[in-house]
Every structure is written in structure tokens, then in C-alpha cells.
Symmetry: D2
Subunit: 182 residues, 4 copies
């Protein structure tokens, strides 16, 4: 393997989504990971799911999203204060489940010259799963920090982290990540 | 939703992969689905995972595939005889897990003018999962024929079909698909 | 060909770029085209080239853009008042020359269910050329409204519109477009 | 810029296309470039335009290609003998004008870990132009060897190489390329 050039992705930690999850632990751990990454000079990118007013990005053909139009949800989303981006850290807006399709994240990762993605965020069965499946096929090395991700269904969270995600990603945690940077 | 323009995808039913799975039922059911689709004029595309001799497609950075170089596996793959393509049905060669990344499948689906994908193949946790995650984000309607897919781990198969895949796909089966065409 | 489902793209008509071009005619004609498209219910998407403060999207490896970091140019761009978007019309921010790579334009066009792109904008040798080359390969039918595009070099403009762009696009103009809608 | 990791692309030097062009010079020069690249350990990938029998890849919506179905042209293409690939060099089959859309070239380039593309092939206004426009947006550094590319219209060739392509690519030639490797 080529030497890793890491980027930290902080995904879907936005008000409307955090409100629906028990994300306290994941937020606390991601907070520490963010501090360590910034200190070590690892570039950080945020991802949120969001739409312009009127949802011009939503296809009637899309099973997951076609119903959102009538809800008013996820318009102009913002990252929660505990994990707020600092100057120079881009917030990528996605309109689907995965972070790499239909966004400028590939462009940002190319500008970072990154070949290794460190994933945090909610939920495990949403943005983490889709982003891992596509990132791995794109030849990114992927590390998932297990205590920085969460899911509204703990059974799903455990299953994916033990049976599915390890096939394409290293499963690590916040302490290991921070320790390796020290 | 716009009117569905379906395409049937028959994925990874190739000698080396079938040999590692108990795929008898999935093959039998897919055989019947293929016949019905052809009769109804639904376009069919095959997908196999494969590499040129020397594996020029394999990145040292890819966790799933970097070890394959030393095995000689999956070079110039072919579909099993029971499900052999007929004249005019393309066989798409993929080099990663998902069928839509780094292949000409998007071009073929565009030529088909398809907006709805009917998925069959092995394995549930491999090509079915990755292809569903990406296809849904690309606004394809997705139907998975549950008795035409399989996995070496039945627990994984069941879990994905009940807890994960229904979020982005309709879960159906061969009889329902064939019945709807009649 | 399938029946055209058109979308109008209004590209790079932003303050900093218009200031460097003699775009008066193109703006006047695009103004009329916009009115007609809105009246006819043809969906409209805007494209601008732009960057977040600090240029996190700019690769040191990119010949066209690597020098921009030191200029402060193109940060948080906006469309000129004469062609301002109305409620519900998305403004897509791109970070490269073409409008379809590394943006959410493919997602928006999918939501529009568009298969035919009508192009206006500046410059002919920039966004128009790159977007046409990629859109055609993606199987979009492409129409370029010749009097709604412009280039700082009139020789380049004429050459591309007569020798290069017609291979992949219909070359039309504002009157023909408006007339066909009436 | 990061240190260049080059790959040589040899594009559309296939029997049916060479027959329609005066490509003698380009072939002779590319022959020398190929020898030098192989000697220096620079990875080589070939690109040809081609289709399966029946043209399942061709959309009725595509202006450039929709007429090809009735011609029987470009089915199962092969590289001319003078520039034949050697063992281990992949031949990528494309179905559109550009080499990077709807092909496995991005996967091969990722496996090569390439960030710099050296382009040869015919024609200047076809595969060279489309591939340069997209490769540059993807942050590949691009070098075009001017005496290794050609076009059926010399005016178009000259215009593109002097007015359009230099914006996103270095324009070099076979002697400079070979000299720099020595």
C-alpha cells in the first residue's frame, strides 16, 4: 500500500438528525478526534444531508427521498455546535445517502490529495455504509471509528460493524486513532 | 414516479463464485426469471467480476482486492452455462464490488433507457449490497428478487434483506416478478 | 430518439466573469430565453464557478486552477442581477471547468428527469465546451444557443461553434428556441 | 504540485480509425514513445472505441453514435500491429468519445497510482479533446505529445493544439518526452 494520506470525514452530525438519535457518545468521541486531527494537521471535511428550498434535487423516482418534499425537513442544514467546523474546513452538502455521489467531496478529497478516509458520523446504516461501499470501490483506504458512529437501531449498528463493514474498512476507535497521532 | 422502464441484472453468476456458494436455488429461480424477462422484452445485462491477466485493475490500496494478485483467481471469468447470455445481451466486467463504479454498466443502462433495475445474483453482501446502495443514490428504482440472490452466510443474507436493503429497494421474488409480466 | 425533456442551463453569468467579457448580447438574449423557458415550464438550473474561502477545492495538481489561491477570486460568487434566479431555481457551484464533474448538477438533472440540455453561458471555450463534451458522452441531447454564449476571443468562439461543437450538439439561437416554445 | 506519477495512454490507434486518417507520422512517433516508456517503467494503457455485436451500448439519444448501429462499424476493435500492446498492458474499450466516462480507465489509473497522463492518439478533436477536458477537471496533470496525435482536418488539429488544449495540458512532443526519460 502507498503511504496513507488521511482525511477525517465528519458526517451528518446536523441538528435534525442528531435529534432523532442517541448520539451523545459519538459526539463526545468525535469531538476529541477532531481536536487531535486538527492538531496533527489532518484535513477535515464535513458532510451534511440537505436541500435547497423547494427540493430541486429530489427525484420522484427515489425511494428514500421522494417523500421528503412534503415535510420541509433538511432544508439548509447546519452542523451541531459541539462539532462546529473551523475556518477553512469545507461543509459538503449531499442530497442522497452516500457522501461521494453527486457532491463535491471527490473534488475536495483530490485537493487534499487524500487516499485514506477516517469516517465518523451517523448513521451507521446510512451515510457510513453507503460511503464505505463506494469509497472502497474507489480505492480509498477506509477506517471507521466505531465509537464515533451510531445508529438508531443498536442491533443494526453492531451487525454492520462486525459482519459487513470490516470487509472493506478497518474498524478502529477514537482512542486508537488519537494514540496513533501522538 | 415516472413509469418504470426495467432492466434485469444477472450478477456474478460465474464459475469461480458459484463454486463457493450454495447457489442452486438462486440459479433455478433466476433461470425462470430470465426466460420471463426475455419473453416480455425486458433488456438483460450480465455482470461478472473479472480481471485481465496480470491484474492491471487492482490497486495496492484496495483492501478487498489487493490480495488477489497472487491467486490467479477471476481472470477472464465466464457466466455459468445454466444462465448463459444469449446473443445481444452484454456481459459487463467489473473490477470492484459494485456493478456501477468503474464499468460500462451506466452506459448500457442509458442505452436501455432504464430507470428501474431488477437485481439477481450472488452475493447479497457483495454485489447486491454495493449495487443497491449506489443505484438508489443514482435515482434508479431498485427491485431485489430475494429468491434469486444468495450469500455464503445465511444470517447475513436474512439480515440484509430484512433490515438494510428494504430502505432503498423493493424486496420481491421470482414468482411475483414473473406473475406481474404475465 | 426519446421525446426531449429539456432543462435550461445558465452558466457562469456571474459578476467576476462577466466583467472580463463583452457579454452584453449574450445576456440580453439569455434574458429572453429565461422568460420563455419559465413561461413554458422548462426547468432552469444555474451554474457558477466558485470556491469556499481558503479554496479547499483547489488541487495543486490542476493547471487551470492552482494559481487562483493567491488571487482571492471567485469566492462565494453570485449571478448577475439581469439574469437572477427566481425561487426554486437551483444555483449549482462548480469548482472546475465543466458543470457536470464534481457537482450536484447530475442529481438536479435527474430530479428534473431531463434528457436534453439547452446551454447558455460564458465562455464558449470554457464551461460550454467542457459541459458539451461530457454531457454528450452521458447521452444528453445538447442544444447550444449560439447568441447566448460568448468568449473573450471571437475567433475561438466562431471556430468552436462551427468546427467542434456541432459534432455533439445542435447549434441554435434564442429566436429559434423561443419560437419553438410558442 | 505533487511529484508526477505518469501513465502513457495510446488511444484509438485501431484499424478502422487509422484507415480514415493520415496517421503515419503519429504512429511512427508513438512507436518510439512506447519503447521509451516501457524501458523507463512507465505504465501503458491502450484505449479503443468499440462495441459488442448488436451495439447494446449505443443510446438512441446520442448524436455522435446513434447512427452507427446500421453500419456494423467498430465492433470488436483491435489495435494496429505497429503499436500492439505487450503482455500486461490493458486495452480499455470505450463507447463514447472520451476515455474516462463509462469505462474502466479510472480504475486502471487508480491501480497505476497515476496522477499525470501522457496522451497520444487520434483524433485531436475526438478522444484527445474529450479526454483532456475531463482529465483536467479530475486533477490529472496532462501532457499531449503533439507529434503523436492527429486529425483528419489539419486546421482543426492546429487550432486545438494552439488555442484550446494548452489551457489544460502541457503541449510537448515525442523527442522531449523521450529525452526527459533518458
Amino acid at each position: 500500500m502507498t503511504a496513507p494520506r488521511s482525511a477525517l470525514l465528519v458526517m451528518d452530525f446536523q441538528h435534525e438528525i442528531v435529534a432523532n438519535h442517541d448520539a451523545t457518545m459519538a459526539i463526545t468521541n468525535t469531538r476529541r478526534v477532531l481536536d487531535a486531527a486538527r492538531q496533527a494537521g489532518i484535513p477535515v471535511a464535513y458532510v451534511v444531508v440537505g436541500f435547497r428550498p423547494g427540493y430541486p434535487e429530489v427525484s420522484a423516482n427515489n425511494k428514500s427521498f421522494s417523500a421528503i418534499r412534503s415535510t420541509g425537513r433538511l432544508v439548509n442544514p447546519s452542523v451541531i455546535d459541539e462539532l462546529a467546523p473551523i475556518e477553512g474546513e469545507p461543509v459538503i452538502i449531499k442530497h442522497r445517502v452516500g457522501a461521494l455521489y453527486g457532491t463535491d467531496l471527490p473534488v475536495v478529497l483530490s485537493a487534499f490529495d487524500a487516499n485514506h478516509l477516517v469516517l465518523t458520523g451517523i448513521s451507521t446504516s446510512g451515510v457510513i455504509l453507503s460511503t464505505t461501499r463506494m469509497a472502497a470501490d474507489m480505492d480509498f483506504a477506509v477506517t471507521i471509528l466505531a465509537d464515533c458512529v451510531g445508529d438508531s437501531d443498536p442491533t443494526v449498528h453492531d451487525f454492520l460493524l462486525t459482519k459487513i463493514l470490516p470487509r472493506q474498512a478497518e474498524i478502529s476507535d477514537s482512542d486508537s486513532f488519537i494514540g496513533a497521532l501522538a
